[in-house]
Each structure stands twice: as structure tokens, then as C-alpha cells.
Subunit: 411 residues, 2 copies
Amino acid sequence: MRVRIARGKRIYEGILMPGVTDHLVIKLDNGYNIGLKRDKVEILASWEEKGVNRPPDEKPGYDPSLPDLVILSTGGTIACRVDYRTGAVTSQFTADEILKAIPELKEIANFEAEVVYNILSENMRASYWIELARKTFDKIKKGADGIVITHGTDTLGFTAAALAFMVRTPVPIVLVGSQRSADRPSSDSTMNACCAAKVATSDIAEVVCVMHGSTSDDFCLIHRGVKVRKMHTSRRDAFRSINANPIGRVSYPDLRIEICGPHLKPGDVEPALYDGLEQRCALVKYYPGADPEILDFYREKGYRGIVIEGTGLGHTSKLWFDPIKRLVDEGVVVVMTSQCLYGRVCDRVYDTGRDLLKLGVIEGEDMLPEVALIKLMWVLNREDDPEKVSQLMKTNLVGEITDSTDIFGGF
Amino acid sequence: MRVRIARGKRIYEGILMPGVTDHLVIKLDNGYNIGLKRDKVEILASWEEKGVNRPPDEKPGYDPSLPDLVILSTGGTIACRVDYRTGAVTSQFTADEILKAIPELKEIANFEAEVVYNILSENMRASYWIELARKTFDKIKKGADGIVITHGTDTLGFTAAALAFMVRTPVPIVLVGSQRSADRPSSDSTMNACCAAKVATSDIAEVVCVMHGSTSDDFCLIHRGVKVRKMHTSRRDAFRSINANPIGRVSYPDLRIEICGPHLKPGDVEPALYDGLEQRCALVKYYPGADPEILDFYREKGYRGIVIEGTGLGHTSKLWFDPIKRLVDEGVVVVMTSQCLYGRVCDRVYDTGRDLLKLGVIEGEDMLPEVALIKLMWVLNREDDPEKVSQLMKTNLVGEITDSTDIFGGF
């Protein structure tokens, strides 16, 4: 067990030696042992011996009074700069360079930085999500006080949802991106990164996304990872909580966190990694005239789950009923969500919905279509029994289904 | 030629007999002829003899001082009532019954009512849109002062867009629906119908959608048909203008129209019917892990146009590049839109976008994905030359592309 201990104004750090006396014995990093009277000291932190956040002796600027965060970089605009020859934005920064570019971060926490990917996030895929979940959980196990993941904004919401299902976390896992690269005057990199780091030191033990909350540089919103969606191609406040209030906000530049709603705290859930996603799942958008054979295409390819983005309360044309029946008959799980995005699916109101329920379609409640897809990928990886899959899809697991959408939603 | 003529406070209506004297001779509906001195009368209206708005003699309550509207009913909740045995909502009202159920309508206009369909709107399809466009244009040709189309809300936006491309109109074409059936206390049927009828008597010579603008019964919004989207499964103010301001609003119950933005007026465009849609067009949503073979599926089925709902500024995974290239190489038109819905596609910012442009993908500007789909169906029905198709897709035709999205948008 490694500990950080305060005695008066002095901070000591090292390995706590076994033994029960009125003195704690700490083996310092320089090799010497020190004995400190138990009732004169305060234990600031303790973690497993091989903690990732163990500051190497040679690392200057380590501040033992600050939390230890891990910043995992996956690419995206927050790691980009403009190529002024072409006007185009290319991914160039590593996590370490982000830390150098944003010196304010060092006032918030100590960072260990690691590059996991350097991709534009439209190239994310399930196998990357799984790898990222494992990496994240590993850093948590090694004692990180919080994880910051820098990510392209395009699919940041998808990754947040994937991590939320795969990692049950005792510390904050904060995804952050930027809509304008760091060398543009309107860049949101610094503010988003600082707010994200601050949230990563908080007691919000969930997967969240922290991004600009307005078009000004005044606050970021803390969105639950399973309830957030990129809703604008270019605005800095593109991310919105859908069918839920944000968990809170972070004022800038004073980085004060205001909590707006309930959230998990350290200890609320047992830390766990449930890595694995069934990749034979598809999201299919219905629209008038949409070819019903698309459903047969997936069935014939051996897909195990289909999420339909239906109209309104969760509808499709009658012409889709037969191929839906063929899917269900072959054991494919079909979940209905709505392309309205806001609001809850309810297939008990109209004939169409009742017919779909009779066919075996599962109502996706108020889940975003993409979140329902990722949940289905996760559930089907862990469960075969159709009845149990159906039950799990309709049950709130990590905040993806809210009890009452009407009073929430920022619509 | 049928005319309605005022002489002092008396109104006469009948067929204008040929002849050039200082008297107009009108054959009244009771068979008698009447001669009226030309300089003593005012011609209030004139239309083709078999005018749809010709009030049958037996029709009591025809008010010649009011405009003549046609109400076309297609089904949907506005024509529904709750079955209290099951709690379900079924489509039961005809257009005439809607008129009877909402007596306030008769204070706004005279109505001719006709049932075109009686379906839940998720069952709409391109052939129905074409038939509805023809019916609408026919009513306009026959002298209607405005058209009200009652429609299910699920795909109301799709139908509005389809009509906007197919019908160039000198009078308002107003789509209206309701989110709660007429026999529920919270029903929006009456207010929406009255506001829609009022807009149908206005000088907004466009296809618009009129629906609740707030959760109260205080005003409806007038949305441009090519810019509107159902954004909530159940709320009465589910419809939102995306990347555009609403054209205006109608206060309730005083039915005062306030115009918020520019709109076409009678005479601005030549009335025309461009009926026809290429049905071999598809909307495909990209998401991480989306199967690239879905594009080959459409190519092999002989589709002529694909609208991709990409991420962010208009992106897909690199894994989609090859099948996109195969589509373009075979002459299939590929248009990029964004699943963000709000904001404009721009494929010149990131590597991914530039690669897509090189492959021949067309930027869908700030069009909604579903509107881009319907526009592509319309353009491909009229144009074969890929260069011209591309040019038309990037050109604003009926308000579907706005010059500046940032200052608009209600985001």
C-alpha cells in the first residue's frame, strides 16, 4: 500500500510498512524509512503500490497535494491544429503535448498522459471501444483519481455510452473534445480540457462528457455519457443532454462545479469491467419508402440485434412487419427507438405500435437510438436468452433510461 | 367563368355570360339571369365554372365574404379518437367530420372537405405523396384560396418537403396534425386546425406546417415545409424549424398572424406541378461499426441515389470509402448530410471530408437528411446528368438550403 501523508505542513509519500504500533512506518522513495506518530499525521491518499499516479522521482513539478489524473488521448480536434497551407485541420498533438499546450491543467491535477489512438473519431469502432474500456479500467485499478479521455466530437457520445456499459467506475471518467482546434481564436480546447479535468477530480463516479454549455466561454455542461448527443455540426455548445438534465455545470474560468441532478458517487457501485460487445448489431433508420429488404439483408448476414429508428412514438410502415417477423422468428432481437430523439417510445397508443409489439419488438423507452444500439451490443455479448435480453433492454442499467422524460430533457 | 359580385351590400354569384356591354349578365344558380351595371359592381372573385369552391346551393352557411379553402384529409391523430375500451387511438374522422367537430373553422373560411387517405402517416410513401401533390394542385387550379392538409405527425415533415418540391403554389398549402386526439382534454386538434386554416387564408404562398409552438395553448408556429422536423415523440410542440427560423406564428385564440421571416407571396413563382419522384433512393445512417456492405446492397439493387447521414460535419469511417467509390463509379449520386441535424455539412475541414469530396460525394449543405433524400428523389426524376444533379442538390430551390445557418436555427 502506497500512502501520501501530511504531518503539519510536510507531505510524505512512500510505501506503508506493515506493523501495528502507535507509529506508522513509511518507506520513502529514496530508500529511507521514516516513523511518524499516528495521531500527528493525516493520511491524504492511499493506493496500490504500483500506482500509475506514483510520481517518478525525476518528474519535476509533481504536486502531491493535487489529485492524480490519467489523460488518455484518442485523437480528434482537441489534438489538432490547422494546416495554414490548406486551411485543413489535422491531428497532431499527443496527450503530453496537450498538457504542454494547456499549462492551466497542472494547477488542477497531476497528469499521466498516454496516447491510445490518434484518429478522427468517425473511425472509431467497437473493438477500439473495448480496448479503451480495458485501458481505462486498468488505470483505475492502478489508482488514478480520475480519467480524462480526449476524443473527436463526431462519435464522442457513442464512445461515452460504450464505456458507460463496460466500465463500472469508482472515479470520474470524463470524455472531452473540442469543436475548434487549439490554434484558432475561437478554440474551445483549453476551456473544455480544464473543465473536464476539474470534473475528473470530483465525486461524480460516472462516465460523463464535458463540453461548452453556451456559445460564450462561461461554462461547460457535465452530460451523462448515455444521455448525450452531438446536436450541431460546428457550434461549440453542440453537445446536449437528451431526455435528461445535465448532471451539472462547471463555471469558467473559476472552475466551480454546480451539481444539477443525482449522480453516482465513489462506492455506489462495485468497480468492474464488463468488456465485450456483440458486433453483429445494426441501427436501421425507417423513413417512408425505406426498403423492407434491408432487414432481410441483416438477417441473412447473421446479425443478432437490430435497433430501428422509427417515426414518432416508435413506428414503421406495415410493409416492414413481415421482415420484422422474420427477424424475430429467427431469434434476432429488434428494439424500437424514435428518430424524434426527444421523448419516449410507446407502442401501446396506435395500431401500428400494438402490431409491432405483437411481432415481438422491444420498446426502447427514452434511449437515444445510438445508445440503444450500444446497449444491445453489450447485452447480447453477455446474454443469450431472449426473455432476459428483452428485460435488460427495458431496464435502466447505467442511467440510459429515465423514469420520467417529460420533466427532463432540455427540449 | 364563375364570379362573385357585390352591388352595394348584396352579393351575387353565378356564371358570367359572354357579351361586351355596360351590363354584366350573370346566370344565377336558381336559373335566372340578372343584369348588373358594370360601374356599379365590384367583382369579388372569379374562377373556373366547375370551381371546387363553388358553394352548392343546398349548402347552408356559405359565407361569400370568407375565403374558400379546401381541406384534404389523409388520416393521423387529428382524425382520431380514443377507443376507451382499449385506450388506443384509432383513425375515425373524415375531413367533413373534422369540420363538424371544430365549428370555429367556419368563422375562418368556407371549406370543401375531401378524404384523400385515411392512414397513419408512417404508412405514407412516395406514390401517395405524388397523388397528394396532384390533388393539391388540382384544387389550386380550380380556384381554392388555400389548402389545408390534415396529416399524421409521424411523417408530416416528409410529406411537407415532398409537396414543396412538387407543387409551386400561388396560395398557402398548410399541413397540420395533432399529437393528442380530439377527445382528450389536452388535445391540440382544435387550436392547430384553426391556426392552420388562418394561415391558409394568408399571403404565405408556400408549403408550411402549422403546429403548437409551446406547451400552452397560446400560439402555433408556421414552419417552412422543407425545414421542419418532428423532434419529440409526444409533446404538442414537437415540431421545430431546423437551421431556419419559423416563418411566423399565429396567436390563439385571436388568430393573429405575426410574420418572423421572409416568405413567398402569391405571384412570386409561377404555379406549376412537377410531379414525380425517383423511388430508388435511400437514406443511410452512418455510425461506428456500420456495415459498409449496406452501400453495396443498394448499388446492387439498382438504386440511383444515396443520402448518407454522416457524423459531425459530414463524415464516415474510412471503411466506407471503397463502397462509396463503387457507388459513384456506377453513377449513383451520393449526398452527405449530418446526423447532428443542426448545422451545415462541410467536407473541406478534415481529412475525412476532403477524401469524401474526392470520391465524388456531394455536400448536402444545411439540409435535413430526410429533406435531402426527398430532394434527391425529385431531382433524379427530372435530371440524369450527374453534373446537373450535383449542381441542383447544392442550389437552394424552395427554401431547403439557407445562406447562413449560424444566425438561424432555434438551436
